[in-house]
């Protein structure tokens, strides 16, 4: 393999990793605060892709501004979901919330089938085919901007979590919910906020991904698994862990193309997930350490 191809593969993996980090962080945030695995994540990613599609095609909105509308909308959706579905089953065994959110995902997916049909959609804008050349390596402008938007949001989120009161309260709740309520944090409200944020991060990921990939109502499923794989790889403790996990997965996926058929690319993340569980179930940070027996 020529050095140039190698570099361009690595760069494309890094760009993908940025997207992966956003969607995984949404999952990690909700898990961290509420100890819930949000299976509806997949549905949110898919619905936000459709919403972006609709904003861009019907209102000719600049595709990179779409998150400004999509994220707040899904933040509200997240608040509503938390109130309707999560609050009533607080304290139930974790499997109930998993199944419940699975049901929510089924509803989202099939409503999408009803409204949008099963056809594959893609968003084509003036940016889609533009490339710029840096040191003779062609880079898709579209993917560069998507990456940049993602990084900006992640940095903003990091600042929010470390500098503001609600952000710190979220982290306190994730660390120890009982202690958090003892020091006077309104756990109910903070949980709601965290859920809304998690959902809006998933929506951001979906919105940005819709500019790069084709999508249909089944769009989020493989991404849900990838997010989980990343969370398992990198742990839930920090944004660095999530970023690292994203990078590992993106790199493995990018280089697997050399040996594997393109149709089998998704296979990599699932196989990686099972492999990690098999080989080093105790050696991983965070989630796994807490959950293995």
């Amino acid at each position: 393999m020529a050095a140039k191809d190698f570099v361009s593969l690595v760069i494309s993996a890094i760009l993908t990793a940025g997207l992966y980090a956003i969607m995984s962080y949404g999952l990690a945030l909700i898990y961290g605060v509420m100890k819930i695995i949000n299976l509806a994540h997949a549905g949110v990613i898919m619905l936000s892709a459709y919403m972006t599609f609709w904003l861009v095609t019907a209102y000719h909105l600049n595709p990179f501004l779409a998150p400004l509308i999509v994220m707040p909308t899904f933040f509200l959706v997240g608040l509503a979901m938390q109130q309707i579905f999560i609050r009533p089953i607080a304290g139930a065994p974790p499997i109930s919330s998993l199944l419940l959110l699975f049901g929510v995902w089924l509803i989202m997916q099939n409503v999408a089938y009803l409204i949008f049909s099963g056809d594959t959609r893609s968003i084509f804008t003036e940016y889609t085919l533009l490339t710029i050349k840096v040191a003779d390596i062609p880079l898709s402008l579209n993917r560069l901007i998507v990456f940049a938007v993602g990084i900006v949001v992640l940095v903003a989120l990091q600042l929010f979590l470390s500098r503001t009161y609600p952000g710190r309260a979220i982290r306190a709740l994730a660390a120890d919910s009982e202690a958090a309520s003892l020091v006077g944090i309104n756990t109910g409200r903070i949980s709601m906020l965290a859920f809304g944020l998690g959902i809006s991060l998933a929506a951001l990921a979906g919105s940005l991904m819709s500019l790069i990939y084709t999508f249909d109502p089944d769009f989020g499923r493989s991404h849900l698994l990838k997010s989980f794989c990343i969370v398992v790889l990198g742990g839930l403790e920090s944004i660095i862990g999530v970023a690292l996990g994203s990078l590992v997965l993106a790199l493995v996926e990018a280089f697997s193309v050399i040996w594997l058929r393109a149709a089998l690319q998704d296979f990599v993340s699932f196989a990686l997930l099972v492999l990690v569980l098999l080989v080093m179930p105790n050696g991983l940070i965070g989630l796994i350490r807490r959950q293995t027996r």
Binding site: F85, S96, G103, L114, F267, F270, V274
Partner: protein, 354 residues
């Protein structure tokens, strides 16, 4: 508490024997009809539902990857029959055994994870298996040493699937399979019933209620969970084999599909997870609702609504409502309805939901 209710027990036996009798004579009344096929497929789904319930309900390990066993069973039968000429019925135990081995292979690593984490991992296993099996033929073609395997005939058939030879006398063949499936369903029910009463079942219930406490009492959670998954896998594998033999055509994308895994999760939950009869009831409700929806076509003014699309939407709604309001499913609802101590006794769940 008195443990014997003669009139009610008698009634229960009468109902059981009566409905069984109806199932036995159904194909004679409606020979080779649509109802016969519907009943056949319902038997298979009841079996799937009960089998899933052994891991998902008794041990509390919710698996979204059971279609791997269904597909493996079906393809084991199809491939062995097509390649060796072994009569299809002889492949049934092989199909079950292979599914069981596969259950061990992926259950052993993933069952180290608890609850929701195991569930997510099983989605991964299911997807990976489906992709692998769908692309197997094309991948093998690119590997020089294994090219011979798929040179003249397909292994899994990829996107086009596999077709089994159709016997000359299709009517009596279908009738034979109707009874085979009925018997198998009763067998699976017996296995489920036996597990509930055995030490094995007690261990599973203990794991479901509190894995840490179970471990303290000397129950090896990992071993029992894997064992439960293997039993479940064997039964589902056999269903896959029966499916392939009855319908003569299997397609890896469909057999290994996520939809099949979802169906196996939904049926016991609709009926009443962790109970003996819940999965049976759930599967019947699931299959009949699905069948009605498939055949209903509503004309309402200018609107023409095809209900096929509502299928999974409806189940999603049902799932949400059940978890929110009646975790015991249809049985829980029945039990809540006033009265019957019989219902209470027969339908006590493995784990009292809190």
């Amino acid at each position: 508490m008195k443990r014997f209710y003669p009139p009610r027990t008698l009634l229960a036996w009468l109902v059981a024997i009566g409905s069984l009798g109806m199932l036995v004579i159904l194909p004679i009344l409606f020979k080779g009809s649509y109802w016969q096929t519907l009943a056949f497929i319902t038997f298979l789904f009841v079996s799937l539902s009960i089998s899933w319930n052994i891991t998902g309900g008794y041990a509390g390990q919710v698996s979204f990857g059971h279609s791997t066993f269904l597909g493996l069973g079906a393809f084991a039968t199809a491939i062995i029959t097509l390649r060796t000429g072994l009569p299809a019925p002889f492949t049934i135990p092989i199909a079950g055994f292979l599914a069981m081995v596969y259950g061990f292979l992926w259950g052993y690593p993933t069952l180290r994870l608890r609850g929701p984490y195991f569930s997510i991992a099983t989605i991964g296993v299911g997807e990976a298996t489906r992709l692998f099996m769908t692309n197997l033929d094309d991948s093998l073609r690119n590997i020089p040493r294994l090219k011979e395997l798929v040179k003249y005939r397909p292994l899994t058939g990829g996107a086009s699937g596999l077709t089994l030879p159709i016997p000359p006398d299709i009517q009596s063949y279908a009738l034979k399979f109707y009874y085979v499936a009925l018997l198998f369903m009763l067998g699976v029910l017996a296995v489920s019933w036996w597990i509930r009463r055995s030490r094995f079942g007690l261990a599973l219930f203990a794991i479901n209620m509190d894995p840490d406490a179970a471990e303290t009492l000397g129950v090896s959670t990992a071993r029992y969970n894997v064992l439960a998954l293997m039993v479940s896998a064997f039964l589902v594998g056999v269903v896959g084999s029966l499916y392939a033999q009855y319908f003569f055509f299997i397609d890896p994308r469909e057999m290994f599909s996520f939809q099949n895994s979802i169906a196996m999760v939904l049926m016991p939950i609709i009926g009443g997870i962790g109970t003996l009869w819940g999965p049976v009831l759930g599967a019947v409700v699931f299959k009949v609702v699905e069948d009605r929806l498939l055949t209903t076509h509503l004309e309402w003014g200018p609107l023409s609504i095809n209900f096929v699309q509502f299928n999974l939407l409806l189940y999603g709604l049902l799932l949400v409502l059940i978890i929110l309001f009646e975790p015991g499913g249809v049985l829980g609802l029945l039990r809540r309805m006033k009265g019957s101590r019989l219902l209470k006794r027969a339908f006590t769940p493995a784990r009292q939901k809190g």
